[in-house]
């Protein structure tokens, strides 16, 4: 079993120092492209790669998890943290010999801590074309509000 990465991981938010992280990822993907190393995603070693975005009412977490059974994906919510775990297993092939085996297999687990609380009871999860999309509704208190400035 190959466990690509199994470690607690929390998202670093957009702070000035975080640009180093971005820079590191960019360099890694550039190196990968130059050396032609295949089999690693844009963030090598971390599985699944995730994008997190937000609009006024929701957070969206998208993870690239190709080739798993949706029923075997486990999504759990604790406070502001959302965790995705599962196992990716290729079907057992009988009597074959492998020439290449680049696709990672095994158990994976990853969690993301969001900066604001969200309504854990109304999280929506969809798995389409190998992409898991989680829609997390923000709590009313976490939504931006317009405050009218009054003049006396």
């Amino acid at each position: 079993m190959i466990v690509r990465q199994l470690r607690p991981w929390s998202v670093a938010w957009n702070t000035p120092t975080n640009s180093f992280g971005q820079m590191r990822r960019d360099m890694e993907s550039l190196l990968e492209r130059l050396t032609g190393a295949a089999g690693e995603g844009p963030t090598s070693g971390v599985f699944p790669p995730m994008n997190v975005s937000e609009d006024r009412d929701h957070y969206y977490v998208r993870a690239l998890i190709p080739g798993v059974d949706a029923a075997k994906l486990d999504v759990s919510v604790v406070h502001q943290t959302i965790a995705v775990s599962g196992t990716r297993q290729s079907p057992e092939e009988q009597g074959v010999s492998y020439h290449r085996k680049e696709r990672a297999e095994g158990a994976f687990s990853r969690s993301v801590t969001l900066p604001e609380s969200f309504d854990g009871a109304r999280v929506d999860a969809k798995y389409v074309d190998g992409v898991l999309t989680l829609t997390l509704p923000k709590h009313e208190a976490a939504k931006p509000r317009r405050v009218t400035v009054q003049t006396s």
């Binding site: 938010w13 295949a38 975005s53 020439h99």
Partner: protein
């Protein structure tokens, strides 16, 4: 037994060719990780292409070079602001050189949960055969 089979394959199996083409689409060119395995009847290629819809996948066979290309759209809505960005949308592309031993007319492709499965059946003359040795 396995050794012999494998060696025969390596000589004529699909092989990577260095990407000499440049992408014409805007966006990132991504290399999908692949598994390639062989059974007595066929070679199978599995490629991870998450986010590619069946309509956005092309499989091209030209002069013995099989190229798989899958295009992904950005999933982020227009009102959304990225908070953490780890993977880009782009084009998955990879090429393999097919040997004569593949029955090119019988190639089958399926795309399930972002994984492309290509079945490349061997041509009749490439299937393993037992040769009896006759004693004098």
């Amino acid at each position: 037994m396995a050794t012999e089979q494998t060696q025969g394959l390596q000589a004529q199996g699909p092989r990577d060719i260095a990407t000499t083409t440049e992408g014409t689409r805007p966006g990132v060119l991504l290399t999908p990780p692949v598994d390639i395995f062989e059974a007595s009847e066929a070679l199978t290629v599995l490629a991870d292409m998450p986010g590619v819809k069946p309509g956005h996948l092309t499989i091209d066979l030209h002069e013995g070079v099989l190229t798989i290309t899958g295009h992904t759209e950005p999933q982020q809505g227009s009102n959304e602001v990225a908070v953490v960005h780890e993977y880009p949308a782009g084009t998955f592309q990879r090429s393999f050189t097919l040997s004569e031993a593949i029955d090119q007319a019988q190639i089958q492709a399926t795309l399930t949960h972002g994984v492309l499965r290509l079945r490349l059946p061997k041509a009749e003359q490439a299937k393993p055969r037992h040769i009896k040795i006759q004693s004098a």
